[in-house]
């Protein structure tokens, strides 16, 4: 690390406090809100079907839940990998210091994983699992037997009861998902020492960008997995998801605009430093990637797609392009918040630079590895709990 700091020192501009050369929250901490955002967003997609009865997106309901789980399982990884003393990580739950926003992470996380996502998945899949446990043998069958948790009752009443539980859990789950990610935004927004972060809007902005990224991720995975499975895309589902992507984009855009407008209109101390931060230090990642490629272009394309002037076949490609841009753009947003906020000195008189190591702790390669892992987990989950092969009653009737 020190070698990199020598390099960074050459790039320091203006006056920063001497301890500020090092960017303390690295790429891993940018990855952390990105991943939790995807979890929250994916869960919200699933809830659309459950709570708001958006029939069209049913084909992605279970896929969205599995996606949320796969990413949630990886959400603590960047945090733990980043700690100076990862072996003490559990202290955050054993001896939480309750005035700290961060101390809640373990509990919020555990609540969301244990009390919401796993329960919802279990009851949603219970009937299928019981059936699979009777049909399939070998190791897989054994896993299903464990997953039944010993409850083999799949009478109509039992399944109805399951359904009720899922509905209730979803109702609890939606605010939980919002809280999980809004809370991550609060961790940044409550740091008053940092002008770029300190904003009560931060949790809400985080939440809406989470929805944007989550919808994009589920849509992209749905399109790609359908291609891999060689099945037709459900047009209504794809278009509806794209519409929701557009709506959340518009909300997200207006929130971010309000935030910036507030910053520039109030002209508080440090505004000049922030201006330089945006127009110079973060020019590429903020103006070009986040705002232009990651927000304006997708919104424009989604509006075009919505007009219906293109055939579904073309729209599909637009969606693939848009969702990819979205995923990049939202990561850029996390990057600009986390890394950007640390480039600007608390003196407001200077800037440091972030040099990301390629290998080693807190490096690009580690971040990539953590980013790929949820996809591998998702692939395993999909193999084990196919979100499509044993459709629910409603899916069957729809298919007929």
């Amino acid at each position: 690390m020190s070698e990199i700091l020598w390099q960074v020192l050459q790039h320091v501009q203006g006056y920063i406090y001497p301890n500020e050369v090092e960017v303390n929250w690295s790429v891993l901490i940018a990855l952390y809100p990105y991943i939790t955002g995807l979890v929250a967003g994916a869960f919200i997609v699933a809830s659309l079907e459950r709570i708001f009865k958006v029939e069209a997106v049913k084909p992605t309901y279970r896929l969205a839940l599995l996606t949320a789980l796969a990413f949630l399982l990886c959400a603590p990884l960047p945090l733990v990998a980043h700690l100076g003393h990862p072996e003490r990580a559990l202290e955050i739950m054993m001896t939480p210091h309750l005035s700290s926003a961060m101390a809640g992470f373990g509990f919020v996380y555990a609540w969301y994983l244990m009390a919401v996502l796993l329960i919802e998945l279990y009851f949603d899949y219970r009937k299928d699992i019981v059936m699979w446990s009777q049909e399939v043998g070998g190791i897989k069958g054994f896993i299903y037997k464990i997953l039944t948790l010993g409850d083999y009752n799949i009478s109509d009443e039992a399944v109805k009861a399951d359904n009720k539980i899922v509905n209730i859990v979803t109702v609890i789950g939606l605010p939980s998902a919002a809280f999980l990610h809004g809370y991550v935004g609060f961790i940044f927004g409550s740091v008053k020492a940092n002008h770029w972060w300190s904003s009560p809007l931060m949790p809400i902005i985080f939440l809406f960008s989470a929805m944007v990224s989550g919808i994009a991720l589920v849509l992209l995975i749905y399109i790609v997995s359908s291609y891999i499975r060689g099945v037709e895309l459900d047009r209504a589902c794809t278009d509806t998801l794209a519409n929701y992507l557009l709506y959340s984009y518009l909300l997200d855009l207006s929130l971010e605009f309000m935030e910036l407008a507030h910053l520039f209109y109030t002209q508080e101390e440090g505004i000049d430093a922030i201006r330089v931060l945006i127009t110079d230090k973060l020019f590429w990642t903020f103006i070009v990637i986040q705002v232009f490629l990651g927000t304006l272009v997708p919104i424009f394309l989604l509006i075009i797609a919505r007009t219906g002037i293109f055939k579904f076949n073309v729209r599909k490609w637009i969606y693939i392009f848009v969702t990819t841009l979205t995923l990049i753009g939202v990561f850029a947003m996390r990057w600009n918040v986390v890394i950007g906020g640390q480039l600007i000195s608390k003196t407001y008189l200077g800037y440091t630079t972030y040099i990301m190591p390629l290998f080693g702790p807190e490096s690009l390669s580690l971040a990539l590895a953590i980013w790929i892992l949820p996809f591998i987990i998702l692939a395993v989950l999909i193999k084990l709990l196919p979100p499509w092969e044993h459709p629910h009653e409603w899916e069957k009737t729809e298919a007929e």
Binding site: L9, N19, H85, T347
Partner: protein, 253 residues
Amino acid sequence: MVSRRKFLAIIAAVAGFASFKRKVAAQEPVEGYDWNKHKYAFVVDTTRCIGCGRCVRACKIENEVPMKPFYFRTWVERWVWLKDEEGPKVDSPNGGFDGFPPTYDERMISKSYYVPKLCNHCDRPPCVQVCPVGATYKTKDGVVLVDEKYCIGCRYCIQACPYGARYLYPADGPRETRRNTADKCTWCYHRITRGYKPACVEVCPVGARKFGDLMDPEDEVRKIIEERRVQVLKPDMGTLPQVYYIELDSEVR
């Protein structure tokens, strides 16, 4: 704190741990020291500091702060106002460790001064508030400390400190137990609890740094704070710093 301890006890009991170790102060005070009888404060006289950097050197040696130019428990800044120029020029080469080279043309300077900086041991310390495990804590005598055996190295406190007073003790730093934990000025807690002054105060040749006890009516620092016009850094942050500056320019932050 009490409820938290209770909470710990419950957790410990539930988890079935026979003994549950709670933190030992990182800088253990001397035996017989009573922290209820002191309330410390620090005064910096910006009219006196000459930017020699002795305090920075003394601090690094006394507290095993790595000698690299990225880690400081205390540093000295030079603030220079040039004629016909808006805004100050500020620098602190290597934290002022080697003193300051004469960078500016004397005739162009309208005013200039040195500002020694250190942890402000805020009365409302954001670093303590945000520490998720309570490794950063405020003692009864007013000192903010980090328990190196407890810190998980999350660096939230570093982000929260408005004064850049904290840094992460590097993995190759000389003091093994402190590696990868947050570190910052302790007002030399190991010295002051034994009745000595902090190292930087001790070595300052011009008395620009003063350390004292507000509970002692005869104390020089207490008198200065009571009688003179003093100012703290970034008062708008609401952190209630306990390092008071004599004749501080409002631009300094």
